[in-house]
Symmetry: C2
Subunit: 564 residues, 2 copies
């Protein structure tokens, strides 16, 4: 079911309840770009983490799939409530902490999504707002201190943009109304006074005026610190660019109600993520690391500066994560079943023996679901959940409950699949992972004109393999015919015969790297909003969430031989 701006607030209680009451949740995200061009096959875990942290802060999470799976209490079946959230950083009218921060899009990512029927018009027009925890706190605080509600609508953006371009309005302080506007503002203030003091009047439509004068009115009223006034910018007629300001008297109750609605709408999808984190249910994803990193960054707060803090943060926020791609590769019983580990490949396999092709009935189907397929976030999260369920039953066909505590499953918990790496299979948030030895990896420098061919020629006696470019004159390279000290010496002799190349072991290269290149200390930092200015703080943002409860159980039914 698509969840968009127009049905989000209404659906939110139902979504929260589904998260609270289900057995496990499968997620999937679609992004405005992967931005992983800087990844190297020879990244250390710490280096890869910092690249991910840097990249995800620039791209957007544009669609979130959430599938809540529940075992029936009456029979051996599963049901699933599956939601497809369109997410866009739009300006909710009245949410005055909107930043309009530009974000990156990767052309191939947009083309890819477009090829899978992603609706970009719907995304921009109907995408749900979101903010991280500090932005939410800032919004709530600002609304509390604001006596006058000022509403602007999306339709007013046109004139606002013009206003910013054509006048100096952005910089006008209400204490310093320009001389040529003083009569106008004094006249308006006199009218406002009459309106405010006449108890028979509840609404006053000010005469239409220019965007610049509307801005002066908004600013002048705001500077009065009067409570109980609501200003709205309205079009004179539907297709006119002419606008007027409508001023209403509002009661404290009405103001509180409108503010609560505004907060729900502006905090938006973040409310769902907060529920997801609070529930401490198993969270399942396919190649889950990027999904989780984006989830934390956009809806909780900036990722910490170090991998160790990131691991700690994830294990506090979401201790029970399972990565179906990692599971398919990590477990020998599963690994032997799958040739490829792409989502559709796993799905094809689990529909046949020895898997049981267990299904889950989607209980909230809507018309928009008819056309969905792979790479729709909701569909992918649903398929991921089915794969997880079938793996569960395949690995422990006899277990009826608490299977996630069995050794078959604890070994998967908190392990995230890694791609594009020479020798790192996964990130384990529950364990300190040592750097790899990489005794057959070497660091090479060469003339800037060299290409891959010259490097392969130079090193051909040692069977060169993967290259990780560092810059135009250096790279890391794996040599397949170098094992042990003797071989390393053989390689190093190249240096003597060549005036243009140098070669050293991976370990020597890493030892020489300055610590600043691979930061691995320091505390998590986050930005705290203080008007125009940004103050750094070390707020322990994860503490806001509920502590981890006792381990959750996934209810299972006994494997039946005739299941098909």
């Amino acid at each position: 079911m698509d969840v968009v701006r127009s049905n989000f607030v209404e659906l939110l209680p139902k979504i929260r309840n589904d998260i609270k009451t289900c057995d496990f949740i499968a997620i999937d995200t679609e992004l405005s770009g992967l931005g992983q061009n800087g990844n190297s096959f020879f990244d250390t875990l710490e280096e890869r983490y910092l690249k991910i942290k840097n990249s995800i802060s620039q791209y957007l999470l544009i669609q979130y799939g959430l599938s809540c799976f529940t075992k029936s209490s009456t029979d051996n079946s599963y049901s699933c409530a599956s939601y497809n959230f369109y997410i866009f950083p739009y300006k909710v009218p009245g949410a005055n902490n909107y930043k309009d921060k530009s974000f990156l899009c990767q052309p191939s990512a947009l083309t890819f999504l477009s090829g899978h029927n992603f609706d970009f018009n719907k995304w921009i027009r109907e995408g749900i707002s979101y903010m991280n925890l500090e932005e939410e706190a800032h919004l709530t605080e600002t609304l509390k201190n604001k006596n006058v509600s000022v509403n602007t609508t999306i339709n007013d953006l046109d004139s606002t943009v013009r206003s910013l371009n054509e006048s100096s309005s952005q910089l006008v302080n209400t204490n310093h109304v320009p001389d040529d506007q003083k009569d106008f503002i004094e006249n308006f203030m006199s009218g406002l006074n009459d309106f405010f003091n006449d108890s028979t009047r509840t609404k006053w439509n000010v005469d239409p005026c220019s965007p610049y004068r509307r801005k002066l009115i908004f600013q002048s009223v705001a500077s009065l610190n009067m409570s109980g006034l609501k200003l709205t910018s309205c079009q004179v007629t539907e297709n006119s660019s002419e606008r007027f300001i409508s001023i209403e008297k509002v009661s404290a109750e009405q103001k509180a109600k409108e503010e609560a609605q505004l907060i729900d709408e502006a905090v938006g999808f973040t409310k769902v993520v907060q529920e997801l984190i609070d529930c401490k249910k198993p969270i399942v994803g396919h190649n889950l690391l990027l999904d989780m990193a984006h989830t934390v960054h956009h809806f909780i707060g900036p990722l910490p500066d170090t991998l160790v803090d990131f691991k700690e943060m994830l294990s506090e926020l979401c201790p029970y994560t399972y990565d179906t791609k990692l599971m398919a590769k990590f477990d020998s019983k599963l690994d032997s079943q799958f040739q490829n580990t792409a989502l559709n490949d796993l799905y094809n396999v689990i529909q046949k023996a020895p898997f049981s092709n267990i299904k889950a009935k989607i209980i909230n189907r809507s018309d928009s679901d008819e056309k969905t397929s792979f790479h729709n976030a909701s569909y992918d999260s649903y398929i991921t959940g089915l794969i997880f369920l079938n793996m569960l039953h395949y690995l422990s066909p006899k277990n009826q409950k608490s299977i996630l505590d069995s050794s078959e499953f604890t070994k998967f918990r908190g392990k995230y699949n890694l791609t594009f790496s020479f020798d790192l299979a996964y990130l384990d948030i529950n364990k300190d992972q040592k750097n790899q030895e990489r005794s057959n990896v070497f660091h090479l420098t060469f003339p800037p004109t060299w290409t891959r061919s010259e490097i392969y020629d130079l090193l051909s006696p040692f069977k060169p393999g993967q290259i990780g470019w560092i810059d135009s004159t250096s790279a890391l390279i794996a040599l397949n015919d170098v094992n042990g000290v003797k071989d390393i010496d053989r390689v190093l002799t190249i240096q003597k015969n060549s005036s243009v190349c140098t070669i050293k072991s991976y370990r020597a290269f890493m030892d020489e790297k300055s610590p600043s290149q691979v930061p691995n200390s320091g505390k998590r930092k986050s930005n705290h909003f203080d008007g125009d200015k940004v103050v750094e703080t070390s707020t322990p943002i994860v503490k806001k969430f509920k502590p981890t409860p006792v381990k959750p159980e996934i209810k299972m039914f006994a494997q039946e031989s005739d299941w098909s």
Copy 2:
């Protein structure tokens, strides 16, 4: 008329002819973001130029409106061919210099365009490709040296992405096929040999295989340097992720024809801009500077490092530009007619006396034009052209021709309107413009906790006006009650009474700025592609275009008193 991927190559000759034969061309662009948050009211021309240069290189031009206006040779009427180009950096199959460079989007810009019915799905799915001149030269060069045509389709992106994620294929050198794939490749090569030497066979569909093996096949064939083979990746069935490679023998003629089509498609919209530049017709726009800067950056080459070089470049490429917004503000006869200078405001005014409401019949209407309105690039360019025409007739009702040479019009030529500036009204590409004196502007430093209020309070005796923030502890500020030396002295005494603030004149501040902060020398640089590596060159890219011919004329008819 919308011009998209599917009709571009077919329409190109007609579009070129319309540009060649019309009297003047009005343009308008829609962008993925303005990115002008860094602009200051107190930017110098050079500073503003560098901000524009930096900003436009990150955002995309997503829609280009082009309206070619022609006076009828038989009666007193104008006609217009108006085109609306959707532009997107997609990967044209076979164009192997595709960079997939991420670009910025500004949420408010997307929301604004969405509110004016911009079709983002059409943009991504149907947007025309483009490249700058160096990329075009690189593509042509690469195709010339390539013996094997390799076709991949958008549908193959899915598996390519998977392939990059799941294998090390990207780094495999064909000279070093992994041991476990050697049998497979040897087997394939033997099959290729049979196919090539059997003159009765023209096409060979290789058995379906994994993305990784397809990549090995592509690489292996490419390394053979055989001419006359074309490889295409094909789906086994429409909804299957399984693919196979189809190999065809192609003649030299067929290869040349396919390459010419490929170049037209991949160079794309750049071909239109080349025609626009070659024709040396008057180019009209509304608030034209950003349109032209984007046009040069995306379709010609990177903007030069200095304003003086940019002016020279523009005056070589497009010597006859007219900015209707500048015209409406710059000429006293026009200025008195317009209260606002937004496009729709000008359009409202020119439809009434004393203007003549001259219209131009659109001769290439299509169904997609029915719903267009303001902020559709084609519509805006058409309206801009109408405004220009009516200004032309209003200023010189008696002139029948060569009006652009009259003093009424030469004064507008090459002047670009500037927005959001304290005292800079326009950029003049034909003139060296001195920096403003700004004797009533001052540079202030203050504690980081200060906001606008504290600054206004401190300076209240001098009637502070516009502020241009530099950072959290400094700003430029205009003081309205400071004229001449005596007043400056009065201001400077503030410094003595305050331990936390310093104040100095704008001139002193600018004199102290290091030259590196406002670069104003150095030659234009551009990037030259050389495989993975980038080599800097100083190619005089504008020289490629035709030299400026004799000044163009706009044909006009005599103003008739009964025109309405």
